[in-house]
Amino acid sequence: MSTHLLFKNIDEAGLATLDVYVQRGGYENLKKALAMPPEGVVEELLQSNVRGRGGAGFQMGKKLSFLPKGAMDKYVVCNADESEPGTFKDRELMQKNPHLLIEGILIAGYAAQATKSFIFIRGEYAEQAEILEAAVAEAKAAGFVGENILGSGHTQDLWVHRGAGAYICGEETGLLDSLEGRRGNPRLKPPFPANQGLYQGPTLINNVETLATAPVIIDMGGAEYAKLGTETSTGTKLVSVSGNVKNPGNFEIELGMKSRDIIEGLAGGTPDGTKIKFWFPGGSSSPVLLPEDLDLAYDFDTMAKAGSMLGSGAIIVVDDTNSVVDVALKLAKFYKHESCGKCSPCREGTNWTVKMLQRIEEGLATPMDLDILASVQEQIIGNCLCVLGDAMAMPLGSMVAKFREEFEEHIEGARARNPYPEEAAA
């Protein structure tokens, strides 16, 4: 059996339209789910053991089961903010197969007994938002979205909500604040969104890919889905590979595939004449790994054991023509720009990290600055409402730890080029 569940015939002409999607058996899984009790759907998702595809890797079924039962306003929010550098899988899925996502949101909404749902899509994805809006309108006209869906008694509304450009709106509570029409500042947790989320109601938030997997799980059955991948990382995963590779793009893989086969096989490896220097296994927020880690299996637990994370499934490959200091500075600038400013350790920490890396670039730093740099990272981790600061601190810390010699050489070289360091710093 092919391991292509989400990307099956993804370029089929007209797949974004309801007609073609229904011809392929689309919305049959919604019917199947609606014929089960909601708890039955939750049970299938639990059995599938599918873990969230947005970054944290939390089990979707478990999150669903945390939602309180009973009649109240509950919400499903699809996280289509996709702003983690290196990640572009949700984009291709939404652009080419929007109805799969809509069907998944409806199945999850039925399982959660939610009456309202939103797709929070980043504002930059204008084309994808238009495609989704058209698809939602088609689904509404066909009676898949709205009141008493297909006579089941389940009512669920769905709207596409466009953001306006802010990485922090991918963080689930920042997203909720933004969706409520405010600045996207994260909230104190607990309470978690499953208890108190959008408009203080119980809210299920999942990534696009996670929700798009729901119809597949209902189709195969949770137990069958769990046979794919590894025991604790079940199923298939969309992986975005970019950076210094010959064939960048999205690939659907079975979790547990060897990382080398993804980077050097599917993505074609680095350009001729260069070698891999390091790679981010799960977006720019994941600690970097080295060429010797290429034989590790690509799944949640192996990546965690190697000191990194699978994150959003975005592999960024950096080859040996690049300086680690440059990459570190780019990275730090991104987090500085995107820090919402609510928590001091993150706001100040990202700012100082950029300044210190610039000192290194400009030849004003001494090797001692590397220790200060590392200590700033330590002071960010675990001290904020959300993990945006950690998302800079962890990869940066790993770069300094693994490439300390290169940082030191760089400091030496830059100091030698700057003729008046003492006077300038005085």
Partner: protein, 232 residues
Amino acid sequence: MSDETQTAPVVGEIVPAPPREQAIAAFKTEPPRYAGGSRVPGWDDPVDLTKDPATIPDPATTEVPAELRAEIEDLMTRYPDPKSASIPALAAAQRLHGWCSPQAIEQVACVMRVTPGYLVAVASFYDMLDTKPVGRCRVYVCTNISCSLNGADALLDAVKGELREGDDIHARGFECLGACDIAPMASIDGVYVGPIALDEVPTLVDQIRKGEDPLPDKQLNKRRSVDPEANG
């Protein structure tokens, strides 16, 4: 949140040392001061304590274009709390006015029944909402990791270099736009193009200027999946 992309010094390149005084002066430059001795732009006017607090604009005296009003009112019906519409509403006003001008904010505030201050606070948080006047056509050049590994900084410089006085174009660096597979890339009013070669930049900027379809062959939406088994 929306500071412009800074140009990073090129590493590895040996730059001749500047004259001694100049080098020292460069490192010792005072941060800029704004009016009233303030170090923060925009905070230079003292608060006028005699002024009345800002209020929700009066519908009787605030003119709102009918289409904009209809669009915002429609947006407000989608959410249990109509305030949720503030970001899409600001985006709609920006499309009409070119930026979130005081007039645009006033109109949105009038329809949504909130204070202009509330909306300014929201708008200033988001990179795509401009609270200062800029060119109408927005060109975002991604300068994040994967794109910069493929020459994004040179691309941004080239695009800015092609601009002429009077162009109604706002070109800026942007964080990862979620299209690292076509690095280096740019978004032209939401249309993703890439990979852009440097020698294509003059054509691209010319097309943007004339309002033509930007580099049609390089548009993302024409790209097929690269996964060998996705269509098998």
